[in-house]
Amino acid sequence: MEKRVTFSKWTIGILFAVPQLILIFTFFYWPAGQAVYWSLTLQQPWGGGNIWVGLDNFRSILSNASYWDSITASMIFAGISTGLAMTIALVLAALTDRQLAGSWLYRVVLIWPYGIAAPALALAFRFILAPEAGFMAVVNQVWPGFWDPGLDGTDAMASIIIAFSWKYVGYNFIFFLAAFQAIPRSLIEAAAMDGSGVIRRFWDIQFPLITPTIFFLLVINITESFQDSFGIVDIMTAGGPANATNLMVYKIYSDGFKGLDYSGAAAQSIILMLLIIALTIVQFRFIERRVHYR
């Protein structure tokens, strides 16, 4: 879409864009380029110059079993937390959209979790799910040793999934509710007139009409599970126990800033970038598809 009426002094126009251009060049393109360069060289953190090593960094990362463990952990985390957060949000939004008495309350309250910082909610859940105090302690009293995120990798993974899903249910709820409300009432009423019940209407009318939102949220949730998980992992498990929750971004951070392996961290960043770009492209293809439904 283009404007018909524009201003002719385009030199002024360019000046308007200069601040943003300087910012994105300095803090986006240069670092991104730098990451590519570092990933192809062996950089000494104390500044001994770089040696060109081609794809060696990638080769050594991809042949490292702990990197694959990190990818697997990220995928498990992304898959389960996205599934949980989206399903729960979808159900809650669909029910809120029925607009029974009191639904305003849910509309207001259910989005609160999304405003909370990941580390803050992580600390809250660390207490709630702590094996010795908190609420899981009660379960542990009945079945001793049932729950211990500090020792058991599965329990630790479950903890970060619960914390992350809790936040993103709120996020998904906002989008699902907006999507439901965008469906014309007349469609629902016409279907009801034809004798279809609430559940039938959900599967045959509402669900197909919100599929674009579902695809959109699917991609956003997966991307966010790569990024927003950092605070949760850092506060709740610090990647442990035995690297069971060492997700990709956390590994970049610990390899780069704690292990001072800049080249390895840069190569990991590049792999993650490619992954996210691929997801974004998938998202665009689905957004194109949206046309079919309207």
Binding site: G13, Q20, G115, I116, A117, L123, E132, T223, D234, S269
Partner: protein, 304 residues
Amino acid sequence: MVERTPILNFFTHLILFVGFVFCVAPFVIVAIAASHNLKDVNDVPMSLLPGSDFWVNIKTAWTTADLGPKLLNSFIMAFGVAAGKVIISALTAFSIVYFRYPGRMLMFWLIFITLMLPLEVRIVPTYAVVANVLEPYQAIMDLTGLSWLIERVSGVQVSLSLGLLNSYSGLILPLVATATGTFLYRQFFLTVPDELTEAARMDGAGALRFFVDILLPLSRNNMAALGTIMFLWAWNQYLWPLLITTDQSHAMAVTELKQLIPNVGGAPEWHIAMAGTLIVMLPPLIVVVLMQRWFVRGLIATEK
């Protein structure tokens, strides 16, 4: 409501209520735990009746993690990011929508691509840039031979250096350097009727005048929505402040929470940790509750 469905309505209420409980429970548990003393908070099961030590714990958490200055830092950073986004995105969107110049589409794509790669994935090199923001320009001058030329002519060796670690600009600027707000404004500017622009031009208004006196007042809603979202987003940043602020005087409230995690072997002071969590949770929660309309609107508009 289209028809009478009493059984389904019952289940609707039931499920929504369970969702409501799960959503609010963590807030309530944090608040209750923050009101107990050391013994009560570690009781199994913890009593759900509030204890009497709420203010004592808040005070302890406040002083242990030194939250006063940290909260101020968080506010400065969040305001800085929100203001920066609101202003810079408006300028850029105006340039993209209202002018025709060579390379405009290239610029559009250059900005658009920044949406794809969040700060978290390019964190290592961005850190290096912030350690010396002029490094890119130095490298360009070195590569183009410009610094060699200057050294020959004036005898001065060019070495540009400006470190932004442990500074507000170092915290804020990289967070502003994405395109989130630009597209929000662009979509809105495209809906502003052309007649308005024509009328303004007829009355002799130039580009700057039109922007300040007509376009900006019209975008007030967008600014509120974008500002709210960006404030929350910046307040909740964790990884970036963690890296950039090695110096305590610039640390953020959110990163300070780590100080409150009970140590293994130490006394399990969960009541203090929860009091601290409550303090850090509260400002964004207040923003969400008070600015709900703008929050929802901004969220939906910035992501699409």
